[in-house]
């Protein structure tokens, strides 16, 4: 069992580095680099979000707040102090996201279920509104442009590998976290918080921890994205961004660690391929969502896992419980 998990892990990392490492060598066009960069960053964002939703059972509709915070820290610093501040600004974004998520987290974790979701949405929209209206400082709906990473990072290929490295490290950290005793406590909180309390573990403290950790990686995603698109805008704070990341996680499978990453890749590729051919892209995405919910409710990766489980000798004991989280 342990060996099987290890093989799975090795296969993922091998595929991850082969696919994403080879893209700059195989593709001469910048566009595939940008597309791959988007997949990496959104994938990490979706995985970080899933630490809250899939692992701990906290459906946040406000993770865009931290994604935007990371992006605007970079944008505002580069705009006001020059591109040399690009990297420190990513650090500043992470620090801001940590502090803000502690403050907001202390309030939102006091409620659960739909109330938690609505509160996170409210905070996200509040910050979006401030960014949108304070246009002398934030650029309002025009956003901020000319965010070019400094020095060698200005080269698209170098920046791609920089992103790849940070995303790989982030995924590795999140993976370690899921497999740690804390990860176990988080999964227990999702299933039965009262029992976790009864066993002497602090539910709220762990919820706050994972809220802060998830927000930290969301801010990292936002900061990195500012360097890919070279421009940012208040939509990054908007609820649709939070919605998009939920969609990615659900399509990939919230019960699987790597599911949200696959979901992100799928959504981005569909948007790109379908969007290039028809303006009815939203219809296609809607149809896919319908199919996913009705036919593949465990998400893409979840269903594949379930299918594989059925063909194993010990099939009767595996995969029937849709509420489990497979690390």
């Amino acid at each position: 069992m342990k060996n099987h998990a290890k093989i799975k892990e090795v296969v993922f990392w091998a595929l991850f580095f082969v696919i994403f490492g080879l893209i700059p060598l195989l593709e001469k066009s910048d566009y595939h680099l940008i597309l791959a960069n988007h997949i990496l960053i959104w994938g990490m964002f979706a995985m970080a979000f899933n630490m809250l939703f899939g692992v701990t059972g906290m459906l946040s509709f406000g993770q865009a707040l931290y994604y935007g915070l990371g992006a605007y820290s970079v944008g505002l610093m580069v705009k006001n102090f020059g591109d040399i501040w690009f990297l420190p600004a990513i650090g500043l974004g992470l620090l801001s996201a940590t502090l803000v998520s502690i403050l907001i987290g202390l309030l939102v974790i006091r409620v659960s279920g739909v109330y938690f979701t609505v509160l996170t949405l409210a905070f996200g929209q509040l910050v979006w509104q401030i960014t949108f209206k304070w246009y002398h400082f934030t650029g309002g709906d025009d956003g901020i442009q000319s965010i070019i990473p400094p020095g060698i990072l200005a080269n698209h290929t170098v920046y791609y590998f920089f992103t790849l490295l940070l995303v790989a490290v982030s995924i590795w950290v999140l993976r370690r976290l899921v497999n740690s005793p804390m990860g176990l406590v988080l999964r227990c909180i999702r299933q039965n918080p009262d029992r976790v309390r009864f066993l002497g573990r602090r539910v709220r403290r762990n919820q706050l921890r994972i809220y802060v950790i998830s927000s930290f990686f969301a801010a990292l995603a936002g900061g990195l994205m500012a360097g890919v698109d070279n421009s940012i805008h208040p939509d990054m704070f908007y609820w649709t961004t939070s919605g998009e990341v939920i969609l990615m996680a659900v399509i990939g499978g919230i019960g699987q660690f790597f599911g949200p990453f696959i979901g992100a890749a799928l959504i981005i590729i569909i948007q790109d391929v379908v969007g290039a051919r028809t303006e009815y892209w939203s219809l296609i995405i809607g149809l896919i969502m319908m199919v996913m919910v009705l036919i593949l409710p465990k998400g893409l990766v979840g269903e594949v896992q379930l299918l594989r489980g059925r063909f194993r000798p010990d099939a009767k004991n595996r995969g029937e419980n849709g509420t489990t989280f497979s690390a």
């Binding site: 910048d30 566009y31 988007h38 949108f132 025009d142 698109d229 805008h233 969007g275 892209w281």
Partner: protein
């Protein structure tokens, strides 16, 4: 025998449908345009009209054999009016599809994001509809050109109109209502700047900032009624203009105060949506009018658009139409669409006769700002049912000379310092 006949037919069909298009495209020289208009949501009509007008211009040019031996090929991707998605599309157009020109867009936020891509990849971006003055002032880059008026030009014309109005209908107080985002705020700042520049004395008695796409303006209408401005300047666009005017009518607001909307208020969209409900005497303008100037070129343009689509064009359409003709003009001058630097030179100072040019004036692209310079007409709503379903159109025109409407150097410096 029958089997052989079928086989021959299949082979012929294969040749016609599969091989022939390749052989044709292999011989043809192409100017590739990559457009990014929104085709869905609130700005969808602007995108739809722009794409139809661009295709109309391309059909006209291609049917005459193209330009300098090249034919146009036009692709549009729904930008969803989202800057991040549009950046991806622009990069795909440049690096994958190898387009010669980026083209569009409706939203200024998208325009600002795409001009950044254009600058990085040194690919010419023709702006056809977005109005943010920044793109041709402090955010100007060498590969960006705009073929429709910006908000500064509209507001300069508006300030001149208000100056003249003082002589016929003395007014003192003014108020502004516009969407609470950069486009709305820019218009108000630019109008005040131009009123000061032209020495117009006024007292601002109110500013009202509803959200863009707000469904209910009642609270604002009541406040405006209490403040009693002589002039109410509006900075809405699209459906917001229609919604505000419809809601203001029962309160009698538009009979007590003069409704003045010089940037996008005179769009045909308003006239067609309101029909006979549109009040007389509103003072409006837009970047193109279906009934001004009364020239052969404008009449022909509007007629052809109607024949092609079954509807009359909004102002967005003329921007796209002008953009294609500007590209054709530049390629004609340079001889090919690949020499970007030579094309930039060809655009700078280019003179081009467009449907919205009155007799005796030809639009030109200012070589310093890359902004098209055009006369602007402001009109008043009067009965006119020649463009159904509209029952009123603009009339009693006042025309302002293009050169008076450009931002002065000190204003550009002020923006750059920001």
């Amino acid at each position: 025998m029958l089997k052989h006949k079928n086989l021959t037919l299949i082979l012929l069909a294969f040749l016609v449908f599969v091989v022939w298009p390749f052989s044709v495209s292999a011989q043809e020289k192409i100017i590739k345009i990559g457009a990014m208009y929104p085709m869905t949501g609130r700005p969808g009509l602007y995108g739809l009209d722009s794409v139809d007008a661009a295709e109309m211009a391309i059909e006209e040019i291609n049917s005459k054999g193209g330009v300098a031996g090249y034919k146009f090929e036009f692709t549009n991707t729904d930008s969803k009016a989202k800057p991040d998605y549009s950046v991806m599309v622009a990069k795909r157009y440049i690096t994958q599809d190898k387009v010669h020109f980026l083209f569009g867009v409706v939203s200024s936020a998208v325009g600002l994001a795409v001009t950044e891509v254009s600058k990085q990849y040194k690919k010419i971006f023709i702006g056809t509809d977005h109005a943010s003055t920044q793109l041709t002032t402090d955010k100007l880059q060498p590969y960006y050109f705009r073929v429709s008026n910006n908000t500064f030009q509209s507001m300069a014309a508006g300030a001149l109109y208000l100056k003249e109005l003082k002589q016929t209908k003395p007014w003192e107080t003014i108020a502004y209502i516009g969407p609470d985002y950069a486009y709305g705020h820019d218009q108000w700042d630019e109008l005040k700047y131009n009123l000061d520049r032209f020495g117009v004395k006024y007292k601002a008695v109110g500013e009202y900032w509803p959200k863009i796409f707000a469904p209910d303006y009642t609270a604002f209408i009541t406040s405006i009624g209490n403040d009693k401005p002589d002039i109410l300047v509006a900075g809405f666009w699209g459906g917001d203009t229609v919604a505000f005017i419809k809601q203001a009518l029962p309160y009698g607001l538009l009979t007590k105060t003069l409704y003045f909307h010089p940037d996008a208020g005179g769009n045909y969209e308003l006239m067609s949506a309101m029909g006979s409900d549109l009040p007389k005497g509103l003072v409006l303008s837009a970047r193109h009018h279906n009934n001004w100037p009364d020239t052969e070129l404008n009449r022909e343009y509007v007629k052809k658009f109607f024949q092609k689509t079954g509807r009359y064009p909004t102002y967005a359409a003329e921007g796209a139409y002008a953009g294609i003709y500007a590209i054709a003009e530049a390629v004609k001058k340079v001889g090919n669409p690949d020499d970007t630097e030579a094309l930039v030179k060809a655009f700078e100072g280019m003179k081009i006769k467009l449907p919205e040019d009155p007799d005796g004036f030809t639009s030109y692209i200012d070589p310093k700002s890359h902004q098209i310079v055009q006369d602007q007409a402001i009109g008043v709503t009067v009965p006119n049912d020649k463009f159904p379903p509209a029952k009123l159109m603009l009339g009693e025109w006042k025309v302002y000379k293009a050169e008076e409407l450009l931002p002065p150097k000190e204003y550009i410096d002020k923006l750059q310092k920001k």
